[in-house]
Amino acid sequence: MTETVTFYIDGQAYQVAKGTNLVDAAKMHDIDIPVFCYHPKLKPVGMCRMCLVELGSLSVNRETGEVERDEHGEPVFRWFPRLQTACTQVVTDGLAVRTTTEAVVQGRNSILEFLLTSHPLDCPVCDKGGECPLQNLTMGYGPGESRFLIDDKIRLDKHVPLGELIYLDRERCIQCARCTRFCDEIVGDDVLAFHERGRRLQIVTISDPPFDTKFSGNTTDICPVGALTTADFRFGARPWELQEEATICPHCPVGCNLSAGTRLDRDAGGKKIIKRIMPRQNEWVNEIWICDKGRFGHHHTRAEGRLEQPMLKQNGAWVPIDWPAAYDLVAAKLRQYGDSLGVLAGPSLSNEDLWELRKLAGLVASEPKLGVWPAAMTGGDLVAQVGVGSGTMLRAVGPETAILVIASDFEEEAPIWWLQVKQAADRGAAVVVANARPTKLDRYARAVVRYRYGEAVSVLNGFAAQALKDKSLTGKLSESRVAGLSQLRAALKGVKPAFGDAGRMLLSAENLIIFAGGEGLSVAQHRELMQAAANLLILTGRAGRANSGLVAVWPGANMQGAYDLGYSAEATQALLDTPPRMWIIGAANPVAEDARAARAITGAEFVVATSLFMTPTSEAADLVLPRQSFAEREGTFTNGMRRVQRFYTVQGIIGDSLPDWKIFAAIGERLNGPKARISAGAVMKDITAHVPAYAQASYPRLAQVERQFPLVGGDDLYYGGTAYFNLSGLGLAIPPVAEDGSAQLEVRPVTVDAPASTDADLSLIPVRVLYDRDVLFEPSRLMHHRVPPPSVELNQADAERLGIADGDRVAVEGDGYQITATARVDGRAPAGYALLPVRLSSTPAPTTPAACTVRKIGE
């Protein structure tokens, strides 16, 4: 463990880990050293001078080497003559600090008075007013009155839009550089900068479009004044009027912990609604950051058009019916079509919903087909085997860990993981990116591996073959514990180790985390990829350890949970191959997203869908049941690292909507199933009793918290901005099977199918983008500027051959689909492939690779 040192604050001795920043060290012992510019997640700069203290050191007799003591036996200190900044000081043995002397008090006092000479004091209209570090510290340490005339204050622009999401108030800025440092150090998007000098120093954005980063909202959290405010919350409420509720982001597999600021709203009919979303500290998951999609993408919870009662399609027209009638109808149809039932579970269904849906399907079919949507990725069972071990904390990984990101455009698919992997790379972790095309993470990768779409497995096989050559890595494996080992060894004999440098980097580190996406892979190919990743981890003994294991970059918030509860993409594929006569579709929109699914669903005899809005899928259904969004109900999501996290009721309920689990349970009751549980917690209790992996995941356990460092939020707003203390649960990371040393593991040789050559022009590769037209995201109008128009990316050579220029309107056609889009020729697409961002067009397109032709169409 790290060495501890003794240091003294105001004469009292304290112990702390060597190398701790002095401000942090004091904070750990509940002593406040006020700061503005210092932030525990950023490097210190010492710009604001608020943290002035007296520094000294133990007086040591040079001859004897002993600490000098006064007549009372107390140690004697030697003090520096001037005040020093505490934030730029690292704690060393014998360091002494005085924080309450007259000189220190005077120093802070003067700094605050000076800061306030050019601060506008428009606190009554400032969004930060009430949770403002400058306000708090002025009350705590300030002079009480100013000697400067209000009339002499500096006058600057009050309302500068930095992009459409963030507003800058130049007058309020105290030049602490937290926002610019956040963009530079944490994100690596160099989009904010200081301009000019001295009193004219100001923040400017230097990107086009302005403030072009996916993490811009975080700057408003860490801004110690109201200089940066979000357009979303602007004047939404005063901070003290907000009721903070804990929730989990429903958009991506990271599972960021959120705090929703809620307030009753006249326009929403007096309901409690979300006014803003802020990060909630969870150092295991999102630390104190969230992406802009999570922060601003909450408007679906109360957007216009939310379904308010069950709707039945009668002779082509929608008729509202009541819940009991809807239950009876579904129960009757299930009795009729139970032997041919297809279930599709959307990515944002909670574990409770998935469990009740599975129970319902089990009532009418002995082996129900439980599909997930989107059905683009699979292998959740392998993640359960060789996922990351207990104690995995991305923010703590360093040189001892190698990270492989394969087949994923990481920033678009899981922004906060991207952020953490980028920072891990900065700390010295060996990051290797393998993809068929350039992605943003390449910038921070130690090595980049390119393969052709569909051949991702060969990369992993190459690494595995390389590992086999190194007896120190694979020698200790026992045949008895790992089934199929000899077959795998035999199969890999013939494989030439490829990408030697990248392989060496990955294999020489102690730990290996593999983030596997699904780009350019069919479901079957993705199963092979996941298996190859599991093979590599088991072969090298990297499975089942902290900071080591397999993580799937799912296209949704709770797809790992769906796999843990028995759903799979293979089931979806089987259902689409032989469409059933009845569908139950929970919170998914396959009709809009996939042409093949659209055909399979519209051809069925009875379709019941739970939905928030009238989507194309609901339109295609016979009965639409209004579900509640994540904000109106309780539940749990399992994130990509298999951390089960609990979200709470945040918002007032819209209409007669119900949580999905309640709907499915009520239908089950009518089919002589068990009595419906009364709460989500009771459903989870059911799950803990029946699903061994979730045995510990009871609601009280998920709500447990512990003290997290660095300390941010809470009463100490000035320290970490306004990220919130986590008081509602850090969740529970479910250990993978491999962590149990005696558990049986299985490897299986996987081979690469050479991509079938087609006579079509190009292969269409669906790629994911963060800002899309998903049902959960589209209602957030503020973000519409960031959602790109439907586009298709082409290689330069292909574009020239087809006579297409950047910006042309093109038609993309293939077996059963046709989309019009804008062509992008920007060098990202490999030759022979057309990259189609999913969920941007309103017409369905394939969700897995397919053949296509692209042609230019007239204006």
Partner: protein
């Protein structure tokens, strides 16, 4: 004897000024500092003084005030600054007329005036909305929202004289 003394008192008061006021036909003037119903004030140019800061609501010991704020634009301007009160409601059944809201107001927008006739026969009528509370604009001046030329109102709080 006592009887006569009583009649004498009556006779004396017969010639003095009458104390009884014939309310509601007649109203007795209230004191200058009487705290009656609130009024939301306007500037001489018709813009509202209220900036929707909700400090009155925060100061209110009876939790009687509800404020929701919104942003001004030059096309639709309610107050000189960036922010105005979109919703401003006082529940007169809760209000204790303590005047803390008046003290808390940074722009002197809310004033407890002399109106004390606050009767209603439905609980819901006890909620006084912004339209009921706000003073009419001065004669000949347009009310709000107003269209203003860009760049004229750039301060988040209107310029006010230094109180000293």
């Amino acid at each position: 004897m006592n009887l006569l003394r009583g009649f004498a008192t009556t006779l004396k008061y017969l010639f003095e000024d009458k104390v009884t006021v014939q309310y509601p036909e007649e109203e007795r003037p209230v004191r200058e500092r009487f705290k009656g119903r609130h009024a939301l004030k306007r500037y001489d140019n018709g813009l509202e003084k209220c900036i929707g800061c909700a400090l009155c609501a925060a100061a209110c010991p009876a939790d009687a005030i509800w404020v929701e704020a919104a942003e001004n634009t030059d096309e639709e301007r309610y107050s000189p600054g960036e922010r105005y009160a979109k919703t401003y409601e006082i529940n007169m059944m809760r209000c204790i007329f303590c005047g803390y809201c008046e003290d808390a107001c940074p722009t002197e927008a809310i004033v407890l005036e002399h109106e004390y006739r606050l009767t209603f026969s439905d609980r819901r009528d006890s909620i006084y909305t912004k339209e009921m509370l706000i003073d009419p604009p001065p004669p000949g001046v347009p009310g709000t929202p107003q269209q203003t030329e860009p760049g004229r109102y750039t301060r988040s709080i209107p310029e006010m004289k230094d109180p000293l």
